[in-house]
Amino acid sequence: MKYHKKHIRAKFSALFLALFIVVAVSDKLSARSAGGDSTDLIDVAYGKQERDLVTSSIWRVSGSDLRKTQAATLSNTFFGRIPGMTTIQTDGEPGYDEATLYLRGQHSFRSNSFIILLDGFPIDGFNHIHSEEIESVTYLRDAASLAVYGMNGANGVLLISTKRGSSDGDRMKISLKARYGVQVPTYIPEFEGSYNYARLYNEALRNDGLPELYTTQDLEGYRNQTNPYYYPDVNWYDEILSKTSSIQDYTLSFSGGNRYANYFAMASLTSNNGLYANTDGKNNSNISFDRINFRANVDINITRNLTALVGLGGRIEDRMFPSGRSTAQLWQDMATYAPNLYPVLTPAGRVTGTANYPDNPLGTVLHEGYGSRNSRDVQAFVTLKEKLGFITEGLSVFASFSVSSSYQNGYNKTKTYSYHEPIRTVSSLGSDSMYYAVRGADTDLTVSTGNDAESNRMNIHAGIEYERSFGKHEFNSLLMFQQGTRSVLGDQSSYANRNLLGRLTYAHQRKYLAELSFSYYGTENYKQGHRFGFFPALSLGWVLSEEKFMANNFVNFLKLRASAGLLGSDKGAERFAYNQYWGTASSQGYYFGSGVTYSGALVQLSLANPAFTWEKSMMYNLGIESRFLSNKVSFTADFFYENRYDILVNSVQTMPSFSGIAFSSMRNKGKTRNYGIEVSANYRDKQGELTYSAGAWISFARNKISESYETPKAEERRFTQGRPMGQRFGLEAIGFFRDNTDIENSPVHTFSNVRPGDLKYRDQNRDGFIDIHDEVNIARPSVPEISYALNLGIEYKGFDLEMLFDGNANRSIYLSGYMFWPFINNYNVSSWTAARRWTPETHATASAPRLSTIANENNYRSSDFWVRNLSLLRLRNIELGYNFTGQWLRKLKVDKMRLYLSALNLFKWSNLDAEVDPETLSAGYPVLKTYSFGITLDF
């Protein structure tokens, strides 16, 4: 990776700064013990604040809470922990199973991506940071907490803080943790066996007016299974998958400190395997994900006033997988290959296949080698802080420098194999016979490398803090400069930003609170003179419980707060879109001459956007925080309202087509609104040796597109404007066609020639035709509007039990594809569809259309028939532990030993009638249940 000179210059200037300071102060190393952090402090942008005095909307979840969920991927520990965050699990493939996260729903129809800061610095991926290295995760939700991030702020920010050592007790703490888990799929869909498949296929052909394919003799052969090579009946899941897979995790950490320095160091090994059976890791491979994390955080007290904080963390991730087909494709093959397609192996044990279906799933897994992705990430920072008490009490300065680097490459060992195509014949004696034609060739393993990816980041912070109390007045202020670059392998231009930010916090008698913050933020992506934006926010708080009139035993704490501010988002924009570019486009060119003399062409690319700018968001938040009954009960609620504008829209959609613009013409014209609420309550009490706790939260976010600049449509009901983002449109199904008379008496369904058993739609515009003009908005948004969680805990005499439920509601899912639409492309038929299909006999009770072997344009199109409103609740986590105590432990020099059993995703309840996983719809690698056993030893 080549660096531009200026990056090197910037790096060096920061390095020199650090070195200079170290040298300058080294002669005066008179160490002083640093004061320990109060647990009442929580992370805010570039600092910490006392929780009860915070005027912005922030949710902090501690690392110890996240660690209760035994998952290899960090975002999978977020489920149910963070009010305002919606978590959806869409994949269970080891190493690729991260959750999809939404922060307060959706804000922009352009991009909702948000940034994640690790110890204050942006990073590329956070999913494989180990939960053992995390002190806390903090979700900044409102304008007051986000304004200092300028154009990075509007979609929300997650702060991750890593653990740091402390000098409590002046002795090293060693912790060893080990966990072993067994994983099983939450759901494997069921498909019909060969006999039913053939029978139903014949029925589908009859329905289409085509001759039957399978004879009575065939059906009998499939039914009695006396000749499984001639009449195969294969369940591919059974052939490929093992019943369980393993997951393991081992962590060793050290922490401690003295008056010179505090430290935290850890190393961990995580290993997560896939479900494919009989792999050997040499000629082929199961899916596997192995990860090593390490971290060393050191705080050095150089002088009484000068502290250096060093953070160094990194990880090695190695992933392996069968390379013949993508994981999604392999799982599709297993689901869709008909049971009678071919036997898995020939009698001689060779892999079968046909010209149309050469990818026998067994061959894909065992005979095509493997691929791998190997990535390395490292992130490091140094911060120097100096108290300038000699100038004035409470004044300090700081400077930080951070680098991070991610690198990935792929190493594949692949080969091909010859497959044996079963050819069915009839022997001279008239009996069934078959032989195998050899196709393709066996090759040796071939090595290839590629899929390189690299990203490097560099960041500098420098600033002044001033924190002081004057009697009833408390001030806390920050003025800081930040600049960062990010270069990505293959990009012509690196990303760069600069930010001058500040924050002034004031508290009067710890009762009346106010905070003003701002950012003056610019990036390289906008035109000179239009690069910087100013983003201010104001928040106010009133601690009523400090007022005399509220003094009582019932209410321990009560605070009201409000915030408003302007935020920005530069996410999802084309780069340098203020310039007009010209270039080559696919297949653009012309053939002159009598041969194929191709003359390449230059075309006008997307139209320049001279006023190119970032999205803006006016965000308002009202909140209440309270504690009652001797702090046993706590209650928090937040209400937010956001007005997003200047979202990029493609103005070609509203332009007469004779403008002739071939590509897009983006303009900052879109607008949305988003509002919602988060409420959470916790209760914790103790009776003798029994401690019990319960907590619950619910969040709701609803959005609406208020300016869409979409192509005008004659029917208001087909507009996305005025509706939530991701609104689905389609026809309204009103049942199945009973018979031909019914078809004749109904509006003309124009998508294909309909037959009895096909879906019948409502003619919304009553023009006698069913076409796209009859589409209406037919569903809720695809992102849940409601998320909620409930946790329960009990501790008794060394035992502890925790249960975490989480769920979501108010969303729609759309049933489509091979799970629900049988026989298209010769796909298999699921048992669910088979049981519900329309036939003349079951017309009254059927709940799926007639079977058909053709891509039925009438049935298999967007309509409310395939839409389901989904509500989902799962027992996300349950853990039972026992803490051992006693002399025998002490003799082993063990402070504490804990054994535990836990289960992840043990139960899932939903209102979905289809027999599939409600989140993945059983496409791709399944979501897993994990049963774990673990031990923790503290020395």
């Binding site: 400069f481 760069a496 230059l602 403008s659």
Partner: protein, 597 residues
């Protein structure tokens, strides 16, 4: 003391970092701008090829690879447009015409819903026009000589006119776009809501542009690499075709009545002249004569092709040989389009090439076969009763007697696919070649003479000289021109394929003869689809409406038989004489929709 040092360092760092003024500057990178295009000869030419690529006429719409279809706006999905006429039927997965045009279910919404089209993408035509306009407005800056610039500009002017014609022949009067629309903000959109021009204004615009282009275009390019570049004859040809269309009954109705009753006078003027003027035929005749004169006296190369001794080979050669001197303008099908063209045009699995799994099986109907005379110029006897079996030998002998152009254009049962190969196919017994499912008398073989999948695609012919003999004859007949001249024009075309000449008996007899000759000579070349419309006869039974017949073969014993059968029934509505404007355009509120849609 130390603290002050530190403080100073931080201040210094601040000033250092903030003084790096170029920190947020866009780095230098390899990007092309309008200025850099027209500052370079090569890039200026590359932009002109873009103009060609987006403004040329291809019969064949290939919607086959997501990124490739953007600039191929012409023709139907998966087939030739003449599939919508009585000439052809298809059998295959991809052709869209049978599902929409044959059933009469095409409409303003589904004609071109955005990413694909049943037939024709008007929005993409305007993308070509925009490119023409950008070139026309900027070529003066390029480092070419003044003459070169004029000539290149004339190419873009011609292509812009061609795109307007392309739109006009389907839609009537259209919004004329003769300059680049600059849209720098959303409020500019209001300034470009140009309404439709009347039919008369649109014709005038195209004709004027042709006149301008013809003034500067060369007669020939002396570099064989530039085969397919626009010559003066192309501009004359477009003008001649436009004036012929404009004079025809659909647009120049003798009774002054529109094709669909419309009380709206604006709508009438948008879709036709709204009145009859015989002089329009005179202008059409003169313009066609200009093309013939240009070929004869000025071009130095353009002539009816008369090579090859066998008339079947001779006619076939026009479509196979890229350098045939009869072709005034042709377009090279891009590699992908070309590959698909062959893939779709070759019937069944007759080429025996793996991967040809989805041919469109263009079949020539019996309705159209009847238009071919016997080689001696007399009529074939077609006395078969519907549904009655006749011997296969009679099918073969009757078809064998038809004229040379039939044999060059139709691959029927009992003949070779690749002529001269000796391999004869009897369709009813083909298993591997899958020719059994033919939906007509035989398969179309024009354009793809015995080719195999993957071989070089033909160039699609936009203008060839034979058309202008027939245009001339047709127009001259309508203005009661010189009989000898009419006979000469039509018989030039006939005698070229060794067919006996036709004599003038009456204006009506001659009109029918010319129309029939045109059908046969220009078969499947994207003429009939528009000719039947402009003659205002598309709605007649057996043309674009009603029953389509075939001679169906049966593998009976001892001898195979054939029956006259109805293979398809077509739906027609008079509103279909012109296309609808796309619904999204109408919804934008600046377009008056054509009547009936």
């Amino acid at each position: 003391m130390k603290g002050i040092t530190y403080y100073t360092v931080i201040c210094l760092t601040f000033s250092c970092l903030t003084s790096c003024d170029d920190f947020l500057e866009k780095p230098v990178s390899s990007e092309v701008t309008l200025d850099s295009i027209f500052a370079s000869r090569i890039r200026t030419e590359q932009f002109l090829w873009n103009v060609y690529s987006t403004s040329s006429i291809y019969e064949f719409n290939h919607f086959w690879s997501g990124s490739d279809n953007r600039f191929y706006h012409y023709g139907a999905s998966g087939s030739l447009v003449d599939v919508a006429t009585d000439a052809l039927e298809v059998e295959g997965t991809y052709p869209a015409i049978p599902n929409y045009m044959h059933t009469g279910t095409w409409n303003a919404s589904n004609i071109n819903p955005g990413s694909w089209a049943i037939e024709f993408m008007s929005n993409v035509c305007y993308q070509g026009i925009r490119n023409c306009n950008i070139f026309i407005e900027n070529v003066h800056r390029s480092p070419f000589t003044d003459d070169e610039k004029k000539s290149m500009k004339a190419e873009a002017i011609f292509l812009r006119a061609l795109m307007h014609f392309d739109l006009m022949q389907r839609l009537g009067g259209i919004p004329i776009v003769d300059h680049v629309f600059y849209v720098s903000s959303v409020s500019d959109i209001d300034n470009i809501r140009v309404p439709r021009s009347t039919y008369s204004e649109t014709v005038k615009f195209i004709v004027d542009q042709c006149d301008t282009a013809a003034r500067y275009l060369p007669n020939v390019y002396n570099d064989s690499r530039y085969l397919g570049r626009i010559v003066k004859g192309a501009a004359l040809s477009l003008k001649a075709r436009v004036l012929l269309y404009a004079a025809s009954p659909l647009f120049n109705p003798e009774d002054g009545q529109p094709y669909v009753p419309s009380a709206n006078s604006t709508q009438r003027e948008l879709t036709s002249y709204g009145s009859y003027d015989r002089d329009r035929w005179r202008l059409a005749a003169a313009a066609s004569k200009d093309v013939l004169d240009w070929a004869e006296n000025e071009s130095g190369w353009c002539t009816l092709y008369r090579g090859m001794s066998n008339p079947v080979d001779r006619y076939e050669e026009i479509f196979i040989n890229h350098t045939c001197p009869e072709v005034i303008l042709s377009s090279g099908l891009a590699n992908v389009a070309g590959g698909y063209f062959i893939l779709f045009m070759v019937p069944g699995n007759v080429s025996g090439v793996q991967g040809q799994s989805n041919p469109s099986n263009h079949a020539v109907t019996f309705n159209f076969t009847r238009l071919y005379q016997k080689s001696d110029g007399t009529e074939q006897t077609w006395d078969e009763a519907e549904g009655v079996p006749y011997p296969y030998s009679q099918y073969r002998s009757k078809l064998a007697e038809l004229e040379p152009r039939f044999h060059a254009s139709v691959f029927y049962s009992g003949t070779e696919w690749s002529r001269g190969s000796g391999k004869v196919y009897h369709f009813y017994e083909t298993n591997t070649e899958m020719l059994k499912n033919v939906r007509g008398v035989g398969f179309m073989r024009k354009f793809v003479k015995g080719v195999r999948n993957g071989s070089t695609a033909p160039r699609w012919i936009t203008f060839r000289l034979a058309e202008f003999y027939l245009n001339y004859a047709e127009a001259l007949n309508e203005v009661d021109g010189d009989r000898n001249e009419i006979e000469w024009a039509i018989n030039e075309v006939r005698t070229r394929v060794n067919m006996p000449g036709i004599s003038y008996v009456s204006k009506d007899q001659m009109r029918e003869a010319i129309r029939r000759e045109r059908s046969v000579e220009l078969a499947f070349e994207q003429h009939r689809f528009f000719d039947l419309r402009r003659w205002k006869i598309a709605g007649r039974e057996g043309l674009m409406k009603g029953s389509i017949y075939t001679l169906q073969l049966y593998d009976t014993k001892p001898e195979a038989t054939y029956k006259l059968e109805v293979i398809a029934s077509r739906v027609w509505d008079d509103k279909m004489y012109l296309y609808p404007f796309r619904q999204p355009e109408v919804d934008k509120g600046y377009i008056v929709q054509n009547p009936g849609w």
